[in-house]
Amino acid sequence: MTVAIDRATGKTRGERGPRRGLGQRLKHGYQKHWYAYAMIAPVVIVLGVLVVYPLVYGFYLTLTDANSLNSARTIGVNEIEATYKFIGFDNYADILWGETAYDRFWSHFIWTVVWTAACVTLHYTIGLGLALLLNQKLRGRTLYRLILILPWAVPTFVTVFGWRIMLADGGVVNSVLETLHLPTPLWLEDTFWQRFAAVMVNTWCGVPFMMLSLLGGLQSIDSSLYEAAEMDGASKWQQFRYVTLPGLRSVSSTVVLLGIIWTFNQFAIIFLLFGKTAPDADILVTWAYRLGFGQQPRDFAQSAAYGMLLLAILIVFTSFYRRWLNRNDQQLAI
């Protein structure tokens, strides 16, 4: 019995004999790999039942006009059959270029892109800055580190409420701004300031992860590289540019991708910060939720269609990202 352990070198071991027939190859493959298949079977089954089936069902729903009024439901003892009907791709067409498509989809889409770009940029630059500071020999480094990861340690749904109280009208943020004779915006009511507050809170929550990951990356850079650079007379900036940044490339490309995915899908912060009061500050994820669960009647079909569109956007983006990395000879750590 052979086992397919080959250390993932990507090389084929030895010369292959002449190609066998399909049936034989399948049989051979089965004999050779049945261990592997048996071992991944639990996850495959779970994913099949819990992810693929709902996904397919969800896709089917997007092709109907299902909402909470025509879905199967039970009222008291009466069971009501589902009466929604198949309408093809009308939901997608309606979302993308229906009558008020700009207000319903595109405005949220633009805001989602801005939100993701702003948050990830802030996460990354602030995280990198703090990681560089913590990577020096400093007194009290561990203490700083412990304090700085606090926003990650405390569950998001707790800290968001803290922020909500702070940003409320008459809360501490505005009191401080008032004492400093600065304008006191209505953080939780005015659209622009709602968006600003959301980015701010998300930045506050997301920096520690970036900081720790990048700090790990910094510490894994060989210090002899810096010595060599110094010997060659490289300035601090040049060392940063030609040693630190390339050394961080692999970690960076991974955490940036994770950051983009997480921020794009960030539900809790906007949902908890504003509740139902801020439709204009909704990114696509919270907007889809609002359509499906935050209004009456619940529009299941459109909400699911938004979900599919979001997933499609992310998959396309990730594929391009990976291809772009491969072209630059980089591998994603995940």
Binding site: L55, G58, G162
Partner: protein
Amino acid sequence: MSTTTVEAPVKKQEPVPTAGPRKGRRRGTSLVSHGILVVASLIALFPVAWLLFLSLGPDKDDYLHPGGIWGKMTLDNYSYVLTETKFLDWLTSTLIVTVGTTLIGVVIAATTGYAVSRMRFPGYKKFMWVLLVTQMFPVAVLMVPMYQILSELQLIDSYLGLVLVYCTTTVPYCAWLMKGYFDTIPFEIDEAGRVDGLTPFGTFARLILPLAKPGLAVAAFYSFLTAFGEVAFASTFMLSDTKYTFAVGLQTFISEHDAQRNLMAATAVLVAIPVSAFFYFVQKNLVTGLTAGGTKG
């Protein structure tokens, strides 16, 4: 926050550096570093500290004039939350859901993590791609179909339903994390096992699994924290207020008509303290587990 200050001085400019000015410069840089770090720490600390402070004020509008709290600090909010609200119910349901998710996630994902770390089989790349894609699922994708399916199965408002939903994210995630950990265990161990006549299952169960305990722990921590902090599904799928998890329960203090901010702050603190302690306990493993997963694609 400026990031450029870091790359400033601290370097040998002259071949034979004179001690005086360099020392001064180094002190200057470290002062700046300390300054920035202190400011950043204050920003990181303040919202949490503020919540803690407000939780001591007895009145729900104390947040408007926090100065007054100093005079009338009390722990009444805490005793009220513990005795008069559904806090203990929420604790129970949170524990059931998180522990259930964690156990299922780790147990199911363990063999898969090993298989994708050690074996190359036809369909490997596609399988890894699927694992990656499931991590990008926005909540909106599965929520509607899950809601419909679970209502048909009468699993809305049940712990099992929520655990199943959380498994959609934690199972693939745990498989990823554990692959990363198994990758760090030398292949020679597997080979030695096979030379001694163990089947791959035997190698996995007798040799690798005992070595991989830290990796299993990381996966468990991560599932735990994910399930604990999840908001969207919990808010939608749990209907009766005794079955709320903390993420949902906390929202009930602020409704459209009434905002009991003092009680909410107290609950928040009670929730945050054990979880944050737990987090600090495991944080080092979390980061290495996430990023050291490793370059092996």
